[in-house]
């Protein structure tokens, strides 16, 4: 929902995200609503605090963009050094994922199989599938015919079956044609 009077300073982390984190940290603990509200605000303040400090560190380093290193230094200088090791894990994962993504995209481009060949393979697969479908349909048709013949030879059995299942049996009633589309 976009608010037309959206003021940047009213931004907070969404309550639901905070609730989830509290729940995971303190499962089975009841938390008062105003306490939750306070956590939301504290979290926001924390982000402002760290980013502000990181920004200063960034400016001093004559770089234009706040880097992870700046954030880490900010955490250290503000007394949150204990967060650093876990935070560094995130960084590691970032790099790993970025690397994987780059590898994956280059792998796809260099598959080595030209497009016409891929197209040809696709057509082959389609043809094979159609053939299998046709054969299957043929088999089913044969089976039904056989069943119909048997029913004619042994009507009592057919009668029993009909009474049991209430189904319409071939030979005695209509023959249901299973129409299978075979496009050539």
């Amino acid at each position: 929902m976009a608010s037309s009077s959206g003021n940047d300073d009213d931004l907070t982390i969404p309550r639901a995200a905070i609730n989830k984190m509290i729940k995971e940290t303190l499962p089975n603990v009841r938390v008062a609503n105003d306490a939750r509200e306070l956590v939301v605000n504290c979290c926001t303040e924390f982000i402002h605090l760290i980013s502000s400090e990181a920004n200063e560190i960034c400016n001093k380093s004559e770089k234009k963009t706040i880097s992870p290193e700046h954030v880490i230094q900010a955490l250290e200088s503000l007394g949150f050094g204990s967060y650093i090791s876990e935070v560094k894990e995130v960084l590691q994962e970032c790099k790993t994922v970025a690397l994987k993504r780059r590898k994956a995209s280059s792998r796809l481009e260099n598959l080595g199989i030209p497009e016409e060949e891929l197209l040809r393979q696709q057509q082959e697969l389609f043809a094979k599938a159609r053939q299998q479908q046709a054969e299957l349909a043929q088999q089913e048709w044969l089976q039904m015919q056989q069943a119909a013949q048997q029913a004619q030879l042994a009507p009592e059995i057919a009668l029993e079956t009909r009474q049991e299942t209430g189904a319409v049996t071939p030979g005695g009633g209509e023959v249901r044609l299973i129409h299978v589309k075979t496009s050539s």
């Binding site: 929902m1 976009a2 608010s3 959206g6 003021n7 940047d8 300073d9 931004l11 907070t12 982390i13 969404p14 309550r15 639901a16 995200a17 989830k20 984190m21 509290i22 995971e24 940290t25 303190l26 603990v29 009841r30 938390v31 008062a32 306490a35 509200e37 306070l38 956590v39 504290c42 979290c43 926001t44 303040e45 924390f46 982000i47 402002h48 760290i50 980013s51 502000s52 990181a54 234009k64 963009t65 706040i66 880097s67 992870p68 954030v71 880490i72 955490l75 503000l78 007394g79 949150f80 967060y83 935070v87 560094k88 995130v90 960084l91 994962e93 970032c94 994922v97 994987k100 993504r101």
Partner: protein
């Protein structure tokens, strides 16, 4: 950055954790240690960082780790507050427990005066 939580100040209950459009981030939360999936919507974290007029640019990875740090902060302060509640022999965490935790921990001094 995905527009999952762009700009709006109103919390959405259906908010998916992690708004980053990274391929590996699923909608389902994972609790693997060091999981890259942050519980906090990254677009919102970025918006908060940019709300500071002094900040010009923040890199994507910096936002990631800041989000993770904020998570750790929430976990820490929640646990600290819970200790206070337990000392008071209460099972429900209340606002005053947070206030006590803030007072007790030096690093949380920046929170003093954080009003509702």
């Amino acid at each position: 950055m995905a527009a999952a939580a762009a700009g709006s100040g109103t919390p959405r209950e259906e908010e998916a954790p992690g708004g980053e459009a990274a391929a590996t981030q699923a909608q389902a939360p994972t609790t693997a240690p060091g999981a890259r999936l942050s519980r906090l919507p990254l677009a919102r974290v970025k918006a908060l960082v940019k709300a500071d007029p002094d900040v010009t640019l923040a890199g994507q990875e910096a936002i990631f780790i800041l989000a993770r740090a904020a998570e750790l902060f929430v976990e820490t302060i929640a646990k600290d507050a819970y200790c206070c509640a337990q000392q008071g022999k209460r099972k429900t965490l209340q606002r005053r427990d947070l206030d006590n935790a803030i007072e007790a921990v030096d690093e949380f001094a920046f929170l003093e005066g954080t009003l509702d």
